[in-house]
Each structure stands twice: as C-alpha cells, then as structure tokens.
Amino acid sequence: MEYIVKALILYIFILILFRASGKRSLSQITTFDFVLLLIVGETVQQGLLGSDYSLINAILLITTLVGFEVLISFFSKKWNLFDHLTNGVPVIILKNGEPLWDRMEHERIGIEDILESARQSQGLKSLEQIEYAVLEKDGRISVIPK
C-alpha cells in the first residue's frame, strides 16, 4: 500500500511543480534542462523505490504511475475543468499583428519566440503577417497567418 501512497504523492507533486513552472518550460528544453530532468528522474526513483529494489516493486510502481496517467487522461476527456486544471489552457499572445504584452510577460514569451515559430511553421517574416499567435497547452506557439 505504501508504494501507492508514495507514487500518488510524487505524481501529484510533479504535476503541480510542472504546471507551476509554466507552459514554456516544457517546450524550451536545453541540454542542461535535459540533464536536470535526468537528475530529477534519478531522485524520484530513489524516493519511490527506497530500499526495495525487487522486480515486483518496480512492476507495481510502474503500473501505479501509468494507471494514474490513464485516469488523469480519462477524467480530462470527461470534464473540461479537470482538463484545464491538469493540462492548462491555450493562450492567445498576439492578435492582428499586435503582441499582447501582459500575457506574453506572464508566460515568459518574447517577440523572438513568436517570430521563430512564424518562420518555422509558416515561413512568415514579420508580425504584421500574423493574425493570431497561440501559446498551446504543451508550450508550442501556433501561428495563424492573415
């Protein structure tokens, strides 16, 4: 029973931590972030396994974690509010070529990020060519040209 409690606490803590760190943190993974994620993974592993390195404990823990994930996605599909709470919502950060500065500041987005996305996805050269730029739930920026 203890492994379920441990896995549940860690799952919820990581979910809250990543949600609190904002959408952009997830999409802008640098080499250093990748190494940091590996260290986080290692730390979580030690906390979850404790001194029990048995195969059955690993199987039970993985089943518990994947089970939570499936449960979260099931409830997200069922209830919009739950989906918004666990996955966040998309945010319009540019409208008719005009950046929405307060939103961009809150989401830690710069003009360069929007332009980069516009170049990569639509081949656009300037903000004036963009009707909407949307910061998606996963941290990517979608660009809709005029």
């Binding site: 203890e2 409690v5 441990k6 606490i9 809250i16 931590l17 949600r19 609190a20 904002g22 404790g50 001194s51 918004h84 966040g88 919502v89 998309p90 945010v91 319009i92 939103r103 809150h106 909407y132 949307v134 809709i144």
Partner: protein, 159 residues
C-alpha cells in the same frame, strides 16, 4: 463556450488569469517547503535535532525522522559509581525501528517482557550511540530508560 474556434481560446483566458494567481501562490508554498526543509522541519537540521538532560545523562535525538533513513540517538553519560549502566527501549519502539549499529558494543543484551535492555560498563563509556532506521512513517514514541530514568519522547517519521 460552444463555438470551437479561435474565439473559444480567448474565452479561456479568464481561466489562465486565475491560474497565474494560483501559480504564484504555489511558488510561495514551494519556497516555504524548501525553507522548512533547509531548517530541518523534515529532519536532518537544527529544528529537528534536540537534547534533553536527565539524572546523570544527556540524550540527543531527532524529532523528525525519514522513513528507511538512518538516524542516531546519542547518550552522554556523566561519571558514575555504578559498574554497569543499563539502557533499555520499550518493545513497541523496537518493533518500529531497526538498530543498525551500537557504539560501543553493549556488554550484554537481554529482552524482558516489555523491554530490550542493553548493558554497558559504566566506567569506560561516556558516549553511547545508537544508529537506527525507522521502518514506518507516522508518529513514533521513543520509550527509553537510562539508568532507570524512563523517558517518553515524541518523534515523527516522514514518508
């Protein structure tokens, strides 16, 4: 909210504004958590370590422990005229922990109905260290008797 187009995304911004406030609050909580951890509220720090004095001894222990993580109970003994000193633990406490090492090694260990008794030659030892590991999370009552002076101390084991 029924129209699933770009204006629907704009309607969701109200939720995002609330979320921004919640995010700030969460970060305050996380900083508090970090500070609490740093000062020992979750064990291994100055808020956790404490000592009590008794008749001819001083007992050092931690208030906050961590599940399956080593901790110590340190007993400083004053000069005694007795040949041996007996330190005993209640069986209820012994069942919830695992002794890793006792320094110095006791001359004798015996179990009575409710206690486990460790005897040490009094003249040789001024400091006795019990290294132990708590086996379960939750409240723990350290039931220790040093030279016949019984003490009950509350401890908490974090998961």
């Amino acid at each position: 909210m029924n129209s699933k187009n770009i204006s629907h995304v704009d309607e969701l911004y109200e939720f995002e504004q609330k979320e921004i406030k919640v995010r700030k609050f969460i970060w305050i909580l996380l900083v508090l958590l970090w500070v609490s951890g740093s000062v020992g509220l979750f064990g291994k720090g100055w808020l956790s370590g404490t000592k009590i004095e008794g008749n001819g001894y001083e007992l050092e222990y931690e208030r906050f422990l961590r599940d399956e993580t080593s901790t110590s109970i340190i007993i400083f003994l004053e000069e005694s005229s007795a040949d041996t000193i007996e330190i005993s633990f209640g069986k209820k406490y012994v069942k919830k922990i695992r002794f890793q090492e006792i320094t110095p090694k006791p001359a004798n260990i015996e179990a009575s109905e409710n206690r486990v008794i460790y005897s040490f030659p009094a003249s040789e030892n001024t400091m006795i260290i019990y290294h132990l590991i708590p086996l379960n999370a939750g409240f723990l009552e350290l039931d220790i008797s040093i030279g016949g002076d019984q003490r009950y101390v509350k401890q908490f084991v974090y998961l």
